[in-house]
């Protein structure tokens, strides 16, 4: 468990944040630029002093201003991947990678140079100097360098923000691999919601120096404050599920969500994969009786739990579909015409094609490891 409580004031800005996150796992610190995310991880790393702070990682107190405890950054075993990489310009990629490895304070080396070189595809880059690398290669090297110091926690400060779209797509899969292959807790700072959807297991939503919500993404995705940050068109419930069958010929997969099943349009998943699906509120249709003769591939039975005002005379409807919750944005007129109120029974309609690009693999099948070791 990572326990964090921070307060810092400086001219016109106040950070006052508290969050806990399970370890291992990827905690996303998500919020707009300037909301205090980077300040927060700088305090966690020990590079920045806070007015008051408490940082505890798996039972070890790293900072406790009330007890005057502050372990220097070089003794914290906290790896840090900076937005701008910060590779040492006078050293080759290999020497950059070895820098932390040689100075590790861990009792043993769990992550080896060979492992990192293979995981991050750094083979052909080892003898190069940082100025000879592309932006994506630089960030991969920075990631490897931080991991080789055998950190107990890895902090990532918008590691993809300085990259163009193509480079981002190049580095993201590596981050997923790290999450799935190494059990190092990570705190991932981002203001890009798609990165959070793809990587995070736990989300801390920040706004103006405050934590406004925290928890699993499926819960945080329902929080009203999210709309102001991601924009109304990106509001949507995120549901977790397991792939139960794949029809590769037409790019479809069935995902068990709660007590129901969802047909989604996705490639590159296999049966048993754990996935998360973002169902954008504006794409969700509600019906009060069972519809027939529609092209829509998903009809889930549910119950309306809340109806709140959304902008432009729209309403945001929360529907419980049996073990999962979805959001639907419909007009005020539609709410009145259907006579929707709390407790109404509805059919939730989800077009399979609307899920395309909104299905994210969050891990290999849970059973695979146990199954293979047991055989």
């Amino acid at each position: 468990m990572l326990k964090v409580k921070l307060a810092k004031r400086r001219d016109g800005f106040a950070l006052d944040a508290q969050f806990n996150a399970p370890t291992p796992g990827v905690v996303a610190l998500f919020g707009r630029s300037g909301c205090g995310k980077t300040t927060a991880i700088n305090i966690i790393s020990g590079l920045l002093d806070a007015d008051s702070a408490y940082v505890e990682l798996d039972g070890d107190v790293l900072t406790d201003t009330s007890e005057r405890i502050s372990i220097p950054p070089e003794q914290r075993r906290i790896g840090y991947v900076f937005q701008d990489g910060r590779l040492f310009p006078h050293m080759s990629v290999l020497r950059n990678l070895q820098y932390g490895l040689k100075r590790t304070r861990a009792s043993g080396v769990a992550i080896t140079l060979d492992q990192i070189v293979a995981l991050l595809g750094l083979d052909h880059l080892l003898q190069r100097k940082p100025y000879q690398l592309s932006g994506g290669e630089r960030q991969r090297t920075a990631l490897g360098r931080a991991l080789l110091s055998q950190p107990a926690l890895l902090l990532l400060d918008e590691p993809l923000a300085a990259l163009d779209v193509a480079r981002r797509e190049e580095v993201l899969p590596y981050l997923e691999r790290l999450r799935d292959n190494l059990s190092i807790p990570m705190v991932y700072v981002s203001h890009q919601f798609d990165e959070v959807l793809q990587l995070a297991t736990h989300v801390v939503l920040m706004d103006a120096g405050q934590v406004v919500a925290q928890g699993p993404l499926s819960e945080v995705s329902l929080v009203p404050q999210l709309r102001a940050i991601v924009g109304p068109d990106s509001v949507g419930a995120v549901v977790d599920g397991v792939v139960t069958s794949v029809d590769a010929s037409c790019g479809m997969a069935a995902v068990r969500v709660g007590s129901g099943s969802l047909n989604v349009n996705v490639t590159a998943v296999s049966t048993g994969d754990r996935v998360r699906v973002q169902l954008l509120a504006r794409d969700i249709i509600l019906a009060v009786e069972e519809p027939r003769g529609l092209s829509v591939r998903n009809q889930l039975r549910g119950t309306v739990t809340t109806i709140v005002d959304d902008e432009h005379d729209a309403r945001l409807i929360t529907v419980d579909v049996g073990g999962a919750t979805v959001l639907s944005r419909i007009t005020r007129g539609a709410v009145e015409a259907l006579g929707l109120r709390n407790g109404s029974a509805v059919w939730v309609l989800v077009k399979a094609v609307s899920t395309r690009g909104h299905v994210f693999r969050v891990g290999a099948p849970r059973l695979s490891r146990g199954a293979s070791s047991g055989s």
């Binding site: 950054p73 070089e74 840090y80 910060r86 310009p89 940082p130 100025y131």
Partner: protein, 229 residues
């Protein structure tokens, strides 16, 4: 060009004095440069001013102050002579000291500039990778300052070859001991019939100066490559 033994002596002395002055002052220049850039202490402006004084004082005045402090009867010079048996005034080492003091601001300036160009973010990165302060300085800060240190050293060396006022005041003009090229040149101009010798010494100064500038350029290029730019 045929050089007389006296001229060769002057050349040898100039090179030796300049080299010794640089070697002796370099560690101090790095330390002072670091203090002036990164240090947070009360008397910083005063240290800054003292370091830069030789730039604005008449060299003869600097030589005179050195004579007062490091002369055989001065507080520091007397102690050195009684306890360590070292005599600075009127010796080659004294000429090197006077040269070092005069060239010190040039060296500190260059080192400060170099240090200001080192991204503190890189040192922070080294910190998160487990490097302690001295380790960080030796593996990150110092190598990245290298181009500036080399530039400062070469400039100080080249300037040291020509130092006149402070040397002649503190170390006097003793053939074979403190008569460097500029002092020999001055002596030749003052002596009747010394025109040929003066010309040869002047040409020597030119050639040395050019070689020094060339060397500075080559070294700076190498050092920049070393730090990956």
């Amino acid at each position: 060009m045929h050089l007389t033994p006296a001229e060769l002596d002057a050349l040898r002395l100039s090179l030796s004095v300049a080299a010794r002055s640089v070697l002796f002052s370099l560690p101090f220049a790095v330390l002072i440069g670091w203090l002036l850039t990164r240090g947070r202490f009360a008397g910083r402006w005063l240290l800054d001013a003292i370091v830069h004084l030789p730039l604005v004082l008449p060299p003869v005045a600097v030589g005179y102050v050195l004579l007062l402090l490091f002369g055989n009867n001065g507080p520091i010079g007397g102690w050195l002579r009684n306890h360590l048996g070292i005599q600075l005034a009127f010796s080659t080492a004294g000429a090197a000291l006077a040269t070092a003091v005069m060239a010190f601001p040039l060296m500190v300036r260059s080192i400060r500039l170099a240090l200001e160009n080192v991204d503190p973010g890189l040192e922070a990165a080294a910190r998160t990778l487990g490097a302690r302060p001295i380790d960080r300085f030796l593996t990150i800060t110092l190598p990245l300052m290298w181009p500036g240190i080399i530039a400062g050293a070469v400039t100080a060396f080249a300037a040291g070859l020509g130092e006149f006022g402070a040397v002649i005041t503190f170390a006097s003009n003793i053939p074979g001991i403190t008569r460097t090229i500029p002092l020999a040149l001055y002596t030749a101009i003052q002596s009747p019939g010394g025109d040929d010798q003066a010309l040869r010494l002047a040409v020597m100064s030119f050639v040395l100066g050019l070689l020094g500038l060339l060397l500075a350029e080559v070294l700076a290029r190498r050092a920049r490559h070393l730090v990956g730019r």
